[in-house]
C-alpha cells in the first residue's frame, strides 16, 4: 500500500483514513506493507510493516537515474501560468509550526487577539521562507494595539511548487527501482502516490488499485493544477480498479476522466469511535454554546457561508460563539468578513489544530457545521458524530449520502443553515435525539464495512485476469 502520510503526521484526512482502513484490513488477515515518503518514528502502526521510502538502502538503489513521468503515461498538456490557490505542503507545515509557536508564546492581552496571533504566525512564517506579499490582511480593520503592523504577509497562492512534484517523483523512482516484496495487489492512495503505483505495477505485473480520497477538481475548482489532473488521469487509467470515497467522487471521476463506472468501487470512509472526553469541557474558555467549523479555510469548504449564517445566528442566540479551526488561503478574507460584520468578539480562529487539539475542539463544540461547497466525503462530519455532536452538513458533501441523523442543507442556503444552527442550540431535545441515533450510525459505517468492500475488490482482482496496466485509450 502506497501512502503519503500517516498519523500523527497528517495534514488532512488522508493519513487518518489510511490508518482506519489498514487497521480494519489487518483484522481481516490482510498483510500490508505501507510505504511512506518519510517515516518519523512516531507512527504507532503495529498492524503494518511501515516502509520508509527515504531509507538509505532505497535511496542508494535509486542511484542517479530519474523517473520520467512520461514513461508512466503522465502527459502534462500545459503548465498553467496561474497557480493553485493553496499552499504547498512545505509552506503549510512551516506556517503551522510558526502558528503553534506564536500561540504558545503569546502572553499579553493584545497578542491574544486572533488576528494578532495570525499576523505573528505569518510574520515568522515569512522569516522561515514564505514570500510576504499582498494586502488583504493589511486591510483588516484590526484593533490598534495588536501585532506588528509593518509586516503584512499573506499566504502566497503558489502552486504545488517544484519541491512537491520532485517529492512525488523521488518517491516513485525509489519504489520503482528499489522496492520488492511478496505482494498480490498494489494499492495507491491519492495522486501523490499514483506515479509510484504505476511504476511498481509495471515492474511487477501486479494489479493496481488506486484509491481516490479527493480529486484536484474538489480541492481547487476551476483553478486546477493541470499537472495534478494529468497524474490523476494516468493513475485512474492504469489501475485495474478504482476506489472512490463516495458516489459523488465516483461520478466525478467518470465525468472528468472518462473512467467507466463499473471500474469504480465506492468505499465510504468511517471513523473510529474515540472515547468521549468530557473533561475538556471543564476548562472551556467560553460560556455560551459553541458552533464549530473545522477544516481548511478555503473555497471548497464554504467558510464564507459559515460566517454569513453565523451572523444570522448571532442575532438570535446572544451568547453563541463561533470557532473556525484551520488555516487556508481564505483565512484573511474570512477574518475581514467577520470584522466588517462586527462579530470579532464572537469568533475565534485557533489556526491549525493537531490531533489532540482537534479532539478537544470536538468535545467543546455544541454543533459541528460543514457547509462545504464541494466535498468528496467529509470524514470530519463522522468524527464529530463519533464525539456525540449534532452535525449539519451540506448536501454537496459525500457524507450527506451516507448519514441520516444529521441535518442537511444546500451550502448556499444561508437562512436555512442559520435556522438549523439556532434550533440545535435552542432545543436540547433535538440535540439529544440526533446524538442518540448518530452514535449507532457512526458505528454502522465503521471501517469494518469499508474493509469488507476493499477485500471484495482485492478478491475480484486475484480471481480476474490480473494486471491490466497501462491500457489507457489516449489518456497518455
Amino acid at each position: 500500500m502506497l501512502g503519503w502520510e500517516y498519523p500523527p503526521h497528517v495534514s488532512g484526512g488522508l493519513g487518518t483514513a489510511c490508518r482506519g482502513l489498514t487497521v480494519a484490513l489487518a483484522q481481516q488477515g490482510v498483510e500490508i506493507d505501507f510505504v511512506l515518503p518519510k517515516i518519523y518514528g512516531e507512527e504507532n502502526a503495529a498492524h503494518l510493516r511501515l516502509v520508509d521510502a527515504a531509507a538509505p538502502e532505497l535511496v542508494a538503489r535509486q542511484g542517479t537515474g530519474r523517473l520520467n513521468f512520461a514513461q508512466l503515461g503522465v502527459e502534462f498538456h500545459e503548465v498553467p501560468a496561474l497557480l493553485a490557490p493553496y499552499m504547498n505542503a512545505e509552506q503549510y507545515r512551516e506556517v503551522l509550526h510558526a502558528l503553534e509557536t506564536a500561540m504558545s508564546t503569546a502572553s499579553t492581552a493584545a497578542s491574544d487577539h486572533p488576528i494578532a496571533k495570525l499576523k505573528a504566525a505569518l510574520a515568522s512564517a515569512s522569516v522561515a521562507g514564505l514570500t510576504p506579499s499582498g494586502s488583504a490582511l493589511a486591510a483588516l480593520p484590526i484593533t490598534p494595539d495588536t501585532g506588528p503592523s509593518d509586516v503584512t504577509p499573506q499566504f502566497v497562492p503558489d502552486q504545488y511548487a517544484g519541491d512537491l512534484f520532485a517529492e512525488v517523483e523521488r518517491y516513485a523512482s525509489r519504489l520503482a527501482s528499489g522496492l520488492s516484496g511478496d505482494w498480490q495487489v498494489i494499492h495507491a492512495h491519492d495522486w501523490m502516490t499514483f506515479p509510484a503505483g504505476i511504476a511498481l505495477a509495471q515492474r511487477t505485473g501486479l494489479p493496481l488499485v488506486v484509491h481516490v480520497h479527493s480529486l484536484e477538481q474538489d480541492r481547487s475548482g476551476s483553478g486546477c493544477d493541470q499537472r495534478i489532473v494529468a497524474i490523476e488521469h494516468a493513475g485512474l487509467w492504469a489501475a485495474s480498479k478504482v476506489i472512490a470515497v463516495s458516489h459523488y467522487t465516483r461520478n466525478m471521476i467518470h465525468r472528468l476522466h472518462g473512467v467507466p463506472l463499473e471500474k469504480i468501487e465506492v468505499v465510504h470512509n468511517g471513523v473510529s469511535v474515540p472515547q468521549a472526553v468530557e473533561a475538556y469541557r471543564k476548562d472551556a474558555q467560553w460560556t455560551g454554546p459553541v458552533v464549530l467549523f473545522l477544516g481548511r479555510i478555503t473555497l471548497q469548504k464554504g467558510p464564507d457561508y459559515f460566517v454569513a449564517a453565523a451572523a444570522r445566528v448571532a442575532k438570535l442566540i446572544d451568547d453563541a460563539v463561533f470557532v473556525m479551526a484551520g488555516v487556508g488561503d481564505m483565512l484573511p478574507q474570512v477574518m475581514a468578513q467577520v470584522e466588517s460584520l462586527g462579530l470579532s468578539s464572537r469568533f475565534f480562529f485557533p489556526g491549525f489544530l493537531n490531533a489532540e487539539e482537534v479532539e478537544r475542539m470536538y468535545c467543546l463544540a455544541d454543533v459541528y457545521v460543514m457547509p462545504s461547497v464541494s466535498e468528496p466525503f467529509g470524514i470530519t462530519a463522522l468524527e464529530a458524530m463519533s464525539y456525540n455532536k449534532p452535525v449539519i452538513v451540506s448536501r454537496q458533501s459525500g457524507v450527506a449520502e451516507l448519514v441520516r441523523h444529521a441535518l442537511k442543507v444546500d451550502f448556499w442556503d444561508i437562512d436555512q443553515l442559520a435556522s438549523q444552527i439556532v434550533a440545535v442550540l435552542r432545543y436540547p431535545e433535538l440535540r439529544q435525539a440526533m446524538i442518540a441515533s448518530a452514535g449507532d450510525e457512526v458505528r454502522r459505517v465503521h471501517w469494518d464495512a469499508a474493509a469488507q468492500t476493499v477485500m471484495g475488490v482485492y478478491q475480484g482482482l486475484s480471481a480476474g485476469a490480473g494486471a491490466r496496466v497501462g491500457d489507457s485509450p489516449g489518456g497518455g
Binding site: G288, P289, R312, L316, I317, D366, R404, H405, L407, K408, D415, Q416, A418, S419, Q420, V422, A423, L425, R426, Y427, P428, E429, L430, Q432, A433, M434, S437
Partner: protein, 402 residues
C-alpha cells in the same frame, strides 16, 4: 350471521411551509397552500375519485347490501372545498345513497384527547356540526384520531352522546378474546367496535408485498379467510385509510379489482352481509365489557401513541402548543384559533417520529420532511412565532447547552 364492517379514514393535513428561524416575528403565514393543493389533487385523482366511483358502482350492483362507513376529518373536507370540489361532491353523492355512514372525530384530526378534555370536546362538536352542514347527517358513532382510545376517553365520548366508538383490536387488551364481537366500555355502556388488524392490514399494508407468502391476494382467498369467522364471531371490522385504494396501493397492484370482486364473492355466501357501525350495534349484542387500561392506537407494531409522542422533540412541541390554549381562548380571534388548531393536527408530530427501524419506513413514506429533525425544527419555528409574535406570550429562558 356474520357481517363485514368497513370503515375508511379520509384525511389530509394542512402541511406547514418551510419556516425558518429568521422568519419568526416577521411572517405569520404558516401553511403551504401550493403544496397542500397539489397533494390533495394528486390524492383525489389517484385515490378518492376512482375509489368513490368504484364504491358507487358496488352500491348500485348490490343495492341495500353493500354498506360501509367513512370518517372525514374537517381539515380534509375544507381542503376539498378549496382545491377539489368535484371530490367533495362525489363523497356527498355516496352519503346521499343512504348506504354510507359518516363517523364523528375531531375536526382537526388532533391529539387533543391526550391533552385537554375541553379542547377535545370542542373539536368533536365542531366536526359534528360541519358534517351536518356538509352531508346533512349527524354522526352517531365516534372514532378518535388514529383510533387513539382508552377507558378515560370512553367517558368523554359517552358524555358527548355517541352510541359507539371504533378502536384497535389490540392483542394485549383483548387478552385472548376475539376482536370479532361488539363489546362495551366499563361503567358507561358505550359500545366498542374493534378493528381486526390482521385482516385489515392484509389489505392495507400487505396487498402488494411480493415477499408476503400469501401474495397475490385474491378476493376468493380473502373470502375464505373471512369465512373462518363463521360460528366464532359476529362481525369483522376492516378499518383502514381510504388512501389504501390507489395511493398506498397503486391502481397497478390490482387493488381496485380486488375491491370490485370482494362484495359479490362474499355475498354469494348467504349468511354474510355488510354493515355500518350504527347498524352493527343494533344487530349484535355486546359480548361483554372490554377495558382499555392503556392508551391504544392503530399505529405501528406497538399500537400505542409513541408514533406521536414517543420522543422528547414530540413531547416538547406538543406541550408548547397546548400550553397556549388559555392565551388563544383569551384572544378569541377566529383566525388565530384556527391556526392554532391546524397546528394540532397529528401529522405534524408523526413527522417527528424517530422510530426509524422496522416501523420507520412507513413514517418516512408519509413525511414531507427529509428527517424527523427537520420536521421538529420547522414546527417549533412556527410555534415560536405563533407564541411570541402573534400571541405575545414570552418564551421561557433558553435552556443551557449541555
Amino acid at each position: 350471521m356474520p357481517a363485514v364492517c368497513f370503515y375508511f379514514q379520509v384525511h389530509q393535513p394542512f402541511r406547514l411551509r418551510g419556516y425558518r428561524a429568521g422568519d419568526i416575528g416577521k411572517d405569520h403565514d404558516y401553511f403551504d397552500e401550493g403544496q397542500n393543493a397539489a397533494i390533495l389533487r394528486k390524492v383525489v385523482n389517484k385515490s378518492y375519485l376512482p375509489a368513490n366511483r368504484k364504491m358507487m358502482d358496488l352500491i348500485r350492483r348490490h343495492p341495500g347490501q353493500f354498506r360501509f362507513a367513512f370518517s372525514l376529518s374537517g381539515v380534509v373536507v375544507e381542503q376539498m372545498h378549496a382545491y377539489a370540489p368535484e371530490a367533495l361532491a362525489s363523497f356527498q353523492e355516496l352519503v346521499a345513497t343512504g348506504a354510507v355512514e359518516i363517523l364523528g372525530e375531531t375536526y382537526f384530526h388532533s391529539l387533543a384527547s391526550l391533552y385537554e378534555d375541553e379542547e377535545f370536546v370542542l373539536q368533536v362538536r365542531a366536526h359534528s356540526d360541519f358534517m351536518q352542514a356538509t352531508f346533512g347527517v349527524s354522526p352517531r358513532v365516534f372514532r378518535n384520531t388514529e383510533l387513539i382510545y382508552d377507558d378515560r376517553i370512553a367517558g368523554l365520548v359517552k358524555n358527548m352522546g355517541f352510541d359507539a366508538l371504533l378502536a384497535e383490536g389490540a392483542d394485549d387488551v383483548l387478552a385472548g378474546r376475539s376482536p370479532n364481537f361488539v363489546y362495551q366500555a366499563p361503567n358507561n355502556g358505550l359500545k366498542i367496535l374493534l378493528k381486526n388488524y390482521r385482516l385489515s392490514d392484509d389489505v392495507a399494508f400487505r396487498f402488494s408485498n411480493g415477499a408476503w407468502p400469501e401474495y397475490p391476494l385474491t378476493a376468493d382467498k380473502y373470502v375464505n379467510w373471512l369465512r373462518r369467522v363463521e360460528g366464532a364471531g359476529d362481525l369483522v371490522g376492516l378499518f383502514m385509510d381510504y388512501e389504501t385504494f390507489g395511493e398506498h396501493q397503486w391502481a397497478e397492484t390490482g387493488i381496485f379489482d380486488f375491491l370490485d370482486d370482494l362484495p359479490g364473492k362474499l355475498l354469494r355466501h348467504k349468511q354474510w352481509s355488510f354493515t355500518t357501525p350504527s347498524e352493527a350495534i343494533t344487530r349484535f349484542k355486546s359480548a361483554g365489557v372490554l377495558s382499555f387500561p392503556r392508551t391504544v392506537s392503530w399505529a405501528d407494531s406497538e399500537r400505542d401513541v409513541s408514533a406521536w409522542r414517543g420522543n422528547n422533540m414530540q413531547q416538547l412541541a406538543l406541550e408548547r402548543l397546548y400550553a397556549l390554549s388559555d392565551a388563544v381562548r383569551r384572544r378569541d380571534d377566529p383566525y388565530l384559533s384556527d391556526a392554532w388548531r391546524r397546528l394540532q393536527t397529528s401529522d405534524h408530530f408523526y413527522y417527528m417520529c424517530t422510530k426509524w427501524f422496522a416501523d420507520g419506513d412507513v413514517h418516512a413514506y408519509f413525511s414531507p420532511y427529509e428527517s424527523p429533525y427537520e420536521a421538529f425544527i420547522n414546527a417549533m419555528n412556527v410555534i415560536e412565532d405563533f407564541q411570541i409574535a402573534v400571541l405575545g406570550v414570552p418564551r421561557e429562558p433558553l435552556p443551557i447547552a449541555s
